[in-house]
């Protein structure tokens, strides 16, 4: 196998698409701020897919996104506008939360797990609005953040975009490596048959927890970047609807495909912010109908749809 294998090609193409995103996105009706937001959500969704591979559906991933966002924001506000410390603290704090919550929730499976994560997530959200409002700024959000800087350079505009883009590319590279590693095989096996996995001598709990923490690190990075992009933290970051949006993006794009959830994220945000303009107040109705159509006619999401199209095309050409 040479240096130029399929993986390298995939990664290069992906990197090119991401890095040139701002240049062609404008011509599709997009705009500068939205491309950054799409990239951030793509990181979030990508990490979520690492958990979905194991078959565990979390409804509380907003917690890690939000906790990291608040920690980053508080660092920017009270410590320094330098993003390095802020991001590190954001991710570390959020990861600690993930280790604890993961340890508690992963002892349950199926819908019980989903609801437990939901309960934890909503607990954080409600606490941020009420008990901790002195710290979080309550429902007004964390405001008054300085413009984040990196080595004295202001993190605004395309600086933020490329910062996020680099994280996404690294994140995608890592996620791809993870799914192709023995570790990734264990995650896949976990979804397929947990009992069997235990009976080949695997410590299932450890793997589950690792996947949970890994995916929440992605969420934390995304949350942290969100604050660098927005210098503002909304309590909605912690709300269950954020987790719900993440689930919807993943399912629409195609669970377990890595590409799918990212495409789902891009589609959702594009639709919500660009296409919605033509539909005015009926955009949400249109979105609801679209969810249903996709899940009925395209169960594997966009990636599945693409694969089907390709198969169809190949068949036609063969015939």
């Amino acid at each position: 196998m040479g240096i130029i294998n399929r993986g390298t090609i995939h990664l290069t193409v992906f990197a090119l698409i991401v890095l040139t995103f701002p240049f062609w996105f404008e011509y599709t009706g997009g705009y500068a701020g939205l491309d950054t937001k799409i990239i951030i959500w793509a990181i979030f969704a990508l990490g979520f897919d690492l958990l979905l591979i194991t078959g565990y559906l979390s409804f509380g991933h907003a917690a890690f996104f939000g906790i990291s966002a608040y920690a980053t924001g508080l660092m920017l506000l009270h410590y320094s506008s330098n993003i390095i410390e802020a991001m590190i603290v954001g991710v570390v704090v959020s990861t600690i939360a993930a280790v604890i919550i993961g340890f508690l929730t992963l002892r349950r499976t199926g819908i019980y797990f989903s609801v437990l994560t939901l309960a934890f997530g909503e607990m954080f959200h409600t606490a941020a609005v009420s008990i901790f409002s002195g710290l979080t700024g309550g429902e007004n959000g964390l405001t008054g953040l300085p413009t984040p800087t990196l080595f004295g350079e202001k993190m605004q505009g395309s600086n933020v975009f490329y910062l996020c883009a680099i994280f996404l590319i690294i994140g995608f590279y890592l996620a791809r490596r993870i799914t192709r590693s023995p570790f990734g095989l264990m995650l896949k096996s976990l979804k397929s048959n947990q009992t069997r996995l235990e009976y080949i001598g695997i410590n299932v709990q450890f793997y589950k927890n690792s996947a949970f923490v890994l995916s929440s690190i992605y969420a934390a990075v995304a949350g942290s970047l969100m604050v660098i992009y927005e210098p503002y933290v909304a309590t909605e970051f912690l709300e269950w609807k954020t987790s719900g949006t993440l689930v919807i993006m993943s399912v629409m794009g195609g669970v377990g495909t890595l590409f799918g959830p990212m495409i789902g994220a891009a589609f959702m945000l594009y639709f919500e912010n660009v296409a919605s303009v033509f539909l005015e107040e009926q955009w949400l109705l249109a979105l609801g109908i679209m969810f249903m159509a996709i899940v009925v006619y395209l169960p594997g999401g966009f990636v599945d749809g693409y694969k089907r199209m390709m198969r169809h095309w190949v068949k036609k050409n063969q015939a």
């Binding site: 701020g33 309550g138 503002y232």
Partner: protein, 455 residues
């Protein structure tokens, strides 16, 4: 994204084209023609090129405040129409620099966004308007969290934000921003205006029990009602914070049944207020006797849409404050012009949110005309400390130090069903509170406005 604001790096192709075109023009134009352009550097979406200028209206189109948002949007559309063709308050504003041919000779256009009553969504939507649609000013909203979130964005990107309905002290207090202006009144002014009327109507020896929505606005509203009623001699028995997501308030009302309070103050807004009031009436508080007095319910912040949502029977006789009511059309020429044109356009009278949004649009445009430029720092200076009349009763002042607006406001109470004159006539004006009675010192609240030129 920094196509506009950060020219040193991250140039996009379009920018490169724009810049080269601009330098070509600059090179071929005598220097004195572009003098102003050199004095006023590019901020936000300034300079405005082309024959039109775009405003952004960011209102809740989905979620619980959608009805209010739609009414705001109606007002905005009407304001744009009046700016371009004359009519409405464009005729009554005093002093008046508007020319009825758009603003600075440019025809006014607008784009619409949905805040979803979610600050994150609101900011994303506002960014779309600013970055893609190149709006020179944006406005709207039905909640303080959203107004504050957008104010910060406005400051960051150098585009003026004219707040819609926002009642929290923070908007022009802790979170005041140079690029944000508020026409609406706030929780502090509600307490200041309402407390004297309460003691006049219900007596000085009253014991109040508060239910407060557990978020920033609720807290400030509770604080100001507590302070001002206690100044009138009232006693505050207790306060219970109610979670925002409560739909049934019975568990909070039971402790009041057992207390010796004779006034119930509901520091709630929107759906919270609709339900807490409905439940309070159901619990019989309106017919109850406590300490030998009739039990009373007070809802500090009122709006017609909210009153409608709570039901006429429930709001009957309940006191509260509101910024403006359409029945004031007989009071002053500004209100008259607005209500009549609005009714003619849409067939029903406007809400207070609509009035605020309409005035904000007109006043911004007037400031641009007076400044003679869209250059945001110049427009801000034209708005700061500006006093005018003809947009409602009395004179209106945009205070320079905190961008809070001071004007007359209303204490109202719900009419009884038998008094109603039509579908939209729900509130009876109890008192017209003069501007002087609502003014408070700037240093009441902390906060900095920030620089004229965004960093």
């Amino acid at each position: 994204m920094s196509k506009k604001h950060d020219k040193s790096k991250g140039l996009t192709r379009r920018d490169v084209l724009k810049i080269s075109a601009a330098s070509a023009v600059a090179a071929s134009t005598p220097m004195f023609f572009v003098k102003d352009a050199w004095a006023q550097k590019a901020i936000g979406n300034f300079p405005v090129n082309g024959p039109t200028v775009t405003y952004g209206f960011n209102v809740p189109l989905t979620s619980i405040y959608a009805d209010e948002g739609e009414d705001e949007l109606r007002a905005y559309k009407l304001a744009v129409k009046h700016l371009n063709n004359g009519g409405g308050m464009v005729e009554t504003l005093q002093p008046n620099a508007l020319k009825r041919n758009g603003v600075l000779g440019k025809k006014v256009e607008y784009v619409v966004g949905d805040t979803q009553t979610n600050p994150d969504a609101a900011r994303t939507s506002a960014r779309r308007m600013i970055e893609r649609d190149k709006v020179i000013m944006f406005s709207g909203g039905s909640s303080s969290a959203i107004a504050i979130a957008q104010q910060y964005l406005a400051q960051e990107l150098g585009v003026i934000f004219m707040c819609g309905l926002t009642h929290s002290n923070d908007t022009t207090g802790k979170d005041k921003r140079r690029y944000g202006f508020r026409h609406f009144f706030n929780a502090y002014m509600t307490g200041k205006a309402l407390a004297p009327i309460l003691s006049k109507e219900y007596g000085k020896d009253r014991r109040a029990f508060h239910l407060t929505a557990d978020y920033t606005w609720g807290h400030t509203q509770y604080q100001s009602m507590k302070d001002f009623t206690e100044k009138e001699g009232w006693t505050t028995v207790d306060n219970i914070m109610t979670p925002v997501k409560t739909t049934d308030f019975s568990q909070f009302l039971t402790p009041i049944l057992n207390s010796d309070a004779d006034v119930l103050i509901l520091n709630h807004y929107g759906k919270n207020m609709n339900n807490s009031l409905t439940n309070a009436v159901e619990f019989g508080f309106k017919e109850m006797q406590k300490n030998g007095k009739n039990m009373e319910i007070v809802v500090p912040l009122y709006s017609r849409l909210m009153a409608k949502g709570a039901g006429q029977k429930n709001i009957e006789g309940v006191l509260g404050t509101t910024a403006w009511n359409w029945t004031q059309k007989d009071d002053d020429p500004g209100s008259k012009a607005f209500v009549e044109t609005f009714e003619k356009e849409y067939g029903f009278p406007p809400s207070q949110a609509a009035q605020t949004c309409y005035v904000q649009t007109i006043i911004y445009s007037d400031a641009v005309e007076r400044a003679g430029t869209f250059y945001p720092p110049a427009v801000i200076k034209a708005l700061e400390g500006h006093e005018f009349a003809g947009t409602g009763p009395g004179k209106t002042l945009y205070r320079a130090e905190d961008h809070q607006c001071f004007k007359d406001m209303l204490v109202v109470k719900g009419k009884s069903p038998s008094q109603l004159k039509g579908k939209y006539d729900l509130l009876e004006i109890v008192s017209k509170v003069k501007r002087e009675d609502t003014v408070y010192p700037v240093d009441t609240f902390p906060g900095e406005l920030g620089p004229y030129e965004p960093a």
